[in-house]
């Protein structure tokens, strides 16, 4: 037994000495074979266990086992250490230039008019408005007469109308959708009617086709204050919480009273700048209480209501700071791609 002890101590010293010199995984593997392999000193010592007397066998076995355990531990620790070191070496060589651009996915874009139209609709939808549409080639009755614009009415001068044939026009506003909806449905009515409209005007600030959104609200006891509240809500949602509105009396044949609505200038916030011509205000829409003659034309009784209409291009120009109306319809892809 003592001899065995001696041998183990010797082996221990020897191995500990040589393991310190190991610095890579391959030498460690060799070391393992040399240490615990069939021809190793350790194997010899293990074999010699059979020559130990029975009474000492237990103690001797423990000695051998402890030795093995201890070394296995040392080897495992070293192996882990070396593996980590090797991985680190490997990763060091795999370094890439992260400043190179990523694999590119080019997003498309929606037209600013579509985007703003959707924003307007999204503002009104929670207020129980539904979206309605109507034909663009429209009968005089819906575009004019039913909207309290009889022949010879000054308002027919206000808008230069495209004619397709006698009594048939390209709609000059989205207001005919009011009439079509009211003729089809009973009050209460809350609708939005977005779409293309046409006027025979072509210069820096007019295109012969443009886009409007019309709103109509009809019920019992609708008041002027409701119109104002609705517009203030819209203006704040569209242009920010600090936006104020100003109503100026105006004239539209299909509303009475009528007003034009200004918002505090989106550029200077009301202090006065070039965009608002130093007034601090910018006009964004026209509105009013539905004229009794319009209700008469669709056979409504005992209700009041309000209507409003705005140009989408105008809102989009203000929102995005676009200063040339014609850019909307030129469709230069460098313009379009700015509106993701």
């Amino acid at each position: 037994l003592d001899k065995l002890k001696e041998k183990i101590d010797l082996l221990d010293k020897e191995l500990k000495g040589s393991i310190e010199k190991i610095s890579d995984l391959k030498s460690l593997e060799d070391f393992k074979v040399k240490t615990f392999g069939k021809k190793s000193e350790f194997a010899k010592i293990s074999k010699s266990l059979s020559q130990i007397s029975n009474e000492n066998k237990k103690e001797a076995g423990q000695l051998i086992n402890n030795f093995k355990k201890e070394f296995q531990n040392i080897i495992d620790t070293l192996e882990n250490k070396l593996k980590t070191k090797e991985t680190q070496e490997k990763l060091k060589n795999e370094k890439i230039d992260i400043s190179m651009p990523g694999t590119y996915f080019k997003m498309g874009s929606n037209h600013p008019i579509s985007i703003v139209e959707k924003q307007i609709i999204d503002i009104f939808k929670p207020l129980s408005y539904s979206v309605e549409s109507g034909p663009e080639i429209e009968h005089d009755f819906f575009n004019f007469s039913a909207l309290n614009i009889p022949e010879n009415h000054p308002a027919r001068n206000m808008q230069d109308t495209f004619y397709v044939k006698d009594k048939v026009v390209l709609r000059t506003h989205t207001s005919p959708v009011q009439i079509r909806t009211m003729k089809q449905e009973n009050p209460p009515i809350r609708i939005l009617a977005p779409g293309r409209v046409y006027r025979s005007d072509y210069d820096v600030s007019h295109t012969p086709m443009f886009h409007q959104v019309e709103g109509l609200f009809v019920d019992k006891d609708v008041k002027l204050s409701h119109l104002k509240g609705t517009l203030l809500y819209f203006a704040k949602r569209m242009f920010g919480d600090k936006t104020k509105i100003r109503l100026r009396p105006s004239y539209f044949p299909f509303t009475e009273p009528s007003a034009e609505v200004d918002i505090t200038c989106v550029i200077c916030g009301g202090k006065g700048c070039r965009v608002c011509k130093n007034t601090g205000w910018i006009e964004i829409l026209g509105c009013g209480m539905v004229h009794p003659n319009v209700f008469k034309a669709v056979g409504y009784e005992g209700v009041t209501g309000f209507a409003f209409g705005m140009g989408i291009e105008r809102i989009a120009m203000l929102k995005y700071g676009i200063n040339d109306l014609r850019a909307f319809f030129e469709n230069d892809v460098r313009f379009l791609r700015q509106f993701i």
Partner: protein, 805 residues
């Protein structure tokens, strides 16, 4: 309309009226001030100076060196004009002044070696005259140092006011003053109108033969002297941008801009038998107007004539032959009331707009005409020195009655959501000349004659709101409602398409609905196009039959700007005539067809040319476009869509195109543009351009926004691949159909994953398919899958003689 502040102050008592208050107030009551021009401010730093000495410039013959003093300083000025001498008072633009004509700033300067500290101005330089010689020499009594605008009498503020088209009553300084006084609670100056003695009789005869004239007042003045008008009239006319002509013309213009009533004066010697006749024109009757245009009239036009000839186009413009000239001795003054619609019609049909027609179209005050004539007479008497003034002849065909509106004042409060007392309401209305009888809660409101726009209760609500202030009305958001409907399937579909195509790299475009004859002619499927009767140009004469030509125009437009590799889509309508036998359709008769379309175009390379990580050389192709549409349809949950070979669209490549079929109906097409067709759009034949078009109305019915969950399989699946050679004429869809027909056990999904049309292989191609097997009850055994694969292989061999690779 231009309004002068100085002029207003002659009508309103309050002289402290500031420009900003006028601007703010008018805008708040619906008379929008679009521009304010402060003439005094424009001439800032231009003051009255006196020439102390004048010497020749030592180094320039044409220049003089002046010493000019103001109330405080003395300046040396180098001056090019010659018309001044010592002690003359001049307009001196000091350093810092901005000269209105040319908008340049005066700086200290050295002219040919001599220092100059300002400039002496001419009328032209101050924009006060179109052309002038020499500098302005002011009256000797003018105060030194006074601002030039005051010294020249142009220290005025001019407002450009936009008025509503139904408000004839505000088209004058008096009308604007009346509104201002209502809003600001000011008093107007009392207008005393002196009676002028006349001869007591008149040689004039007036015959009104047309209902378009409701009142005609005529008055003869004899032996007048045509001369320039007095300076106060000239100044006022100039301030609102009118050119003074002579005393008679200027006085009639002055009165019109003061009162709103248009006037006209004829040379009496040109009026046969002193007989004015108001009648409709005869068809093709001719008249030569003041501005020398000659018109061919029709029977709807209203004329002022004598027995022999037309004298004037009523309410719009006088004839040149009867106009006032320097030789005129006797005149007849016209103050009339014409029907709005008649004047508007004529004015519109000849595109003739005058200050006079502008006012008649909007309505003048029937009851103020006598006063206007009296006022005019006064001025003519004073400034044209007539030898004889004849009696006024007033011919009324019809009397306008005043309207009365009865309102419960509580209704006003209910409508406006206000708490106004009866007194508050009546105060507002009385101030703008309404008369009111109060009977308990009821107001019986008499509308003044000049307010032709006020007819119903709501008009009164508006008047109250206007002067109470729209900005004092409460703002209340109505509560949401469960009663309104939400029917927006089309809207949702469009929204989803916009979103999906955006993520698939498409840019949305919007093009005009108009197009050219040529662009429509490419779409020759017997559809009838719609033509505008009054197009803006040849390029915008027709409504589009298809979106394709215009989107190709856009490709061309962008190519010219070196924007390549495009992906565009547009959602828009196309328009066609459905029924062309109807002449004048009834409101609900639909003789036109408007169809919503989704159209797209893809050109150039698929991979962005700046992307270094991928192969940049792949061109866009049919499969890419088809795949994108499949992605779209899958996203929209379109149930069963198919791409079919035959397309009847002649501008597509016959071999690389397909029709799109949903639920058994053709809803559109996809394909490569025919090389011959491309050339129509300034694009090269070899350009790689693909398009698609889908009728949205047809897609709308199969679009489904609902998602349904399918439970996941419990057992793992098995995949097998099969590669083979096959006759190159056999299509994928034939193979798919065959395998489907065989109803292979446990086959869940399968499809092609490789296609190789190899060089050297003639008549055949190599294809590879994947097959996924699955059983919901158990894990499949190798044997079962082998057997299924064997079935597949045998079928393909039997049907298509495939050769396994």
């Amino acid at each position: 309309m231009k309004i002068s502040l100085k002029w207003l102050k002659e009508i309103i008592k309050d002289i402290d009226l500031t420009p900003s208050l006028v601007e703010e107030t008018l805008t708040s009551i619906g008379l929008e001030v679009e521009e304010v021009k402060d003439l005094g401010k424009e001439l800032e730093n231009i003051v009255v100076g006196e020439v102390v000495s004048k010497e020749k410039h030592p180094d320039a013959d044409k220049l003089s060196i002046l010493k000019v003093k103001t109330d405080k300083d003395e300046f040396q000025i180098v001056c090019g004009a010659k018309n001044m001498n010592a002690e003359d008072k001049v307009c001196l633009a000091k350093v810092g002044a901005v000269i209105p004509n040319g908008n340049f700033k005066i700086k200290e300067a050295k002219i040919r070696g001599e220092k100059s500290f300002g400039m002496c101005c001419s009328l032209e330089e101050l924009n006060l005259s179109e052309k002038s010689e020499g500098i302005i020499i002011l009256d000797k009594k003018t105060k030194l140092g006074e601002n030039a605008s005051k010294a020249l009498g142009v220290d005025d503020v001019i407002f450009e006011v936009a008025t509503p088209p139904n408000r004839g009553d505000v088209l004058s300084h008096f009308g604007i003053a009346r509104e201002l006084s209502g809003a600001l609670n000011l008093e107007l100056k009392k207008q005393e109108i002196k009676e002028i003695k006349d001869t007591g009789n008149t040689e004039l005869k007036i015959d009104i033969k047309d209902k378009g004239c409701k009142r005609y007042i005529g008055k003869i003045f004899k032996g007048i002297k045509i001369a320039p008008s007095p300076s106060f009239v000239q100044e006022k006319l100039k301030s609102i941008g009118l050119k003074p002509i002579n005393n008679i013309v200027d006085i009639t213009n002055f009165i019109m801009h003061e009162t709103g009533q248009p006037l006209h004066a004829f040379d009496l010697s040109k009026v046969a038998s002193n007989n004015i006749i108001v009648r409709n024109a005869k068809d093709n009757e001719k008249i030569k107007l003041l501005d020398e245009t000659e018109l061919k009239l029709n029977s709807k036009d209203l004329l002022i004539a004598d027995k022999n000839k037309p004298l004037a186009l009523a309410g719009i413009m006088g004839g040149i032959d009867s106009s006032i000239t320097n030789e005129t001795k006797d005149i007849v003054l016209e103050c009339a009331y014409f029907d709005k619609d008649r004047i508007r019609n004529t004015s519109n049909s000849y595109k003739l707009l005058s200050d006079s027609s502008y006012r008649f179209e909007r309505g003048v005050d029937f009851y103020n005409m006598e006063n206007v004539v009296k006022k005019t007479t006064l001025l003519i008497e004073e400034f044209a020195m007539p030898k004889e003034i004849q009696a006024t002849l007033d011919n009324k065909e019809e009397k306008e009655t005043l309207k009365t509106i009865k309102i419960d004042y509580k209704d006003i409060n209910k409508f406006l959501d206000t708490d106004l007392s009866i007194k508050q309401i009546t105060d507002i209305l009385l101030k703008i000349d309404f008369k009111i009888d109060i009977n308990k809660d009821f107001l019986e409101i008499k509308v003044p004659s000049f307010r032709t726009d006020v007819e119903i209760k709501e008009d009164i609500y508006e008047e109250v709101a206007r002067f109470y202030g729209l900005n004092n009305i409460k703002a209340i958001l109505p509560s949401v409602s469960v009663e309104t409907s939400f029917s927006d399937n089309v809207d949702l579909l469009k929204e989803e398409i916009r979103k999906t195509l955006k993520y698939l790299s498409y840019s949305e475009v919007i093009t005009y609905s108009f197009t050219t004859k040529k662009n429509n002619s490419y779409i020759n499927n017997n559809e009838k196009e719609i033509k505008l009767l009054n197009p803006i140009s040849e390029n915008m004469k027709y409504m589009k039959l298809s979106l394709i030509p215009s989107i190709l125009d856009l490709v061309s437009y962008n190519y010219n700007r070196r924007n390549l590799d495009l992906k565009f889509f547009e959602i828009a309508k196309t328009y066609k005539l459905k029924e062309d036998k109807v002449n004048i359709p009834k409101p609900n008769e639909s003789i036109f067809n408007e169809e919503e379309n989704l159209c797209g175009v893809v050109t150039g390379k698929i991979i962005d040319q700046e992307d270094w990580t991928r192969n940049k050389n792949r061109n866009c192709d049919f499969y890419r476009l088809k795949g994108e549409l499949e992605t779209l349809f899958n996203y929209l949950k379109v149930p069963s869509y198919k791409f079919k070979e035959k397309v009847e669209v002649n501008y597509l490549h016959p071999g690389i195109s397909a029709s799109i079929n949903v639920c058994g109906k053709d809803i559109g097409f996809i394909g490569k543009i025919h090389p011959e067709f491309i050339k129509n759009f300034d694009l090269k034949e070899e350009e790689n351009i693909y398009i698609f078009n889908i009728k949205l109305d047809m897609l709308k019915n199969s679009f489904n926004s609902k998602t349904k969950f399918n439970s996941l399989p419990k057992f793992p699946g098995v995949r097998r691949d099969l590669s083979f050679f096959i006759d190159e004429k056999v299509k994928n869809e034939d193979i798919v159909a065959l395998i489907k027909k065989k109803k292979i056990n446990n086959l869940s999904t399968f499809g092609v994953f490789d296609l190789y049309l190899g060089k050297g292989e003639t008549g055949r191609k190599s294809m590879a398919y994947y097959f996924n097997f699955m059983d919901n009850e158990k894990t499949l055994t190798e044997n079962e899958v082998d057997k299924a694969m064997n079935d597949i292989t045998e079928s393909l061999k039997k049907e298509f003689f495939i050769e396994i690779r």
